[in-house]
């Protein structure tokens, strides 16, 4: 029991960590395209970890499945949203940010 609680706590905290990282990415990344990366990846992973953390404490099978359904919906939703925004930005000719010479680490 204590082990499950521990695992649940770790999953929840990791999920929150990824949410924070995703928001930080939205703040730090230089242009729309890179921000879409932060949004679709870090946030969906964060939500997924939180969902799996809550799954461990779910009281019944339908509740667990509902949590998974919500995650799936959120996945499709934000992947679609990210794609649509990136495509719209590309169509309008928003230039992707380029690293300066030798940029990155």
């Amino acid at each position: 029991m204590i082990l499950i609680d521990l695992l649940q706590g770790m999953l929840l905290l990791a999920g929150v960590g990824f949410f924070l990282v995703g928001t930080l990415g939205i703040l730090r990344f230089p242009d729309v395209y890179t921000r879409v990366h932060a949004l679709t990846k870090a946030d969906n992973l964060g939500l997924g970890l939180i969902v799996f953390g809550l799954l461990l404490g779910a009281e019944s099978v339908p509740v667990a499945l509902k949590l998974l359904l919500i995650w799936g919906l959120a996945l499709v939703a934000s992947a679609t949203a990210g794609y649509l925004v990136a495509r719209a930005a590309r169509r309008r000719g928003v230039k992707p940010w380029k690293a300066r010479s030798g940029g990155g680490a």
């Binding site: 730090r28 230089p30 242009d31 309008r92 000719g93 928003v94 230039k95 940010w97």
Partner: protein
């Protein structure tokens, strides 16, 4: 959970203020959408999940869509700022 409620209440007021203060219409609309979402959370904290459901559907969802659609029909009052090339911060 006083911290949660305090932070939620403050953010709610700040968001409402920002939505009012925004000169850029698009910014105001997005702030309004966020305000609807936070309002739904506030209803949750007030033990009213049914109102939260309505607020999430109407405030954060449908009203946002309608306002964005309206903006699309207006003649781009926010036009010049839209495609400004960005600088790396």
């Amino acid at each position: 959970m006083p911290w949660l409620d305090l932070l939620l209440g403050l953010t709610l007021v700040v968001t409402a203020g920002l939505a009012l203060a925004a000169r850029d219409m698009f910014r105001a609309v997005v702030m309004f959408i966020v305000f609807g979402l936070l309002m739904a959370l506030a209803w949750v904290r007030l033990q009213a999940p049914d109102i939260a459901l309505a607020e999430a559907a109407i405030g954060a969802g449908l009203t946002g869509v309608l306002l964005l659609d309206t903006l699309g029909y207006l003649r781009r009052p926010f036009g010049s700022r839209v495609d400004k090339p960005e600088k790396h911060q």
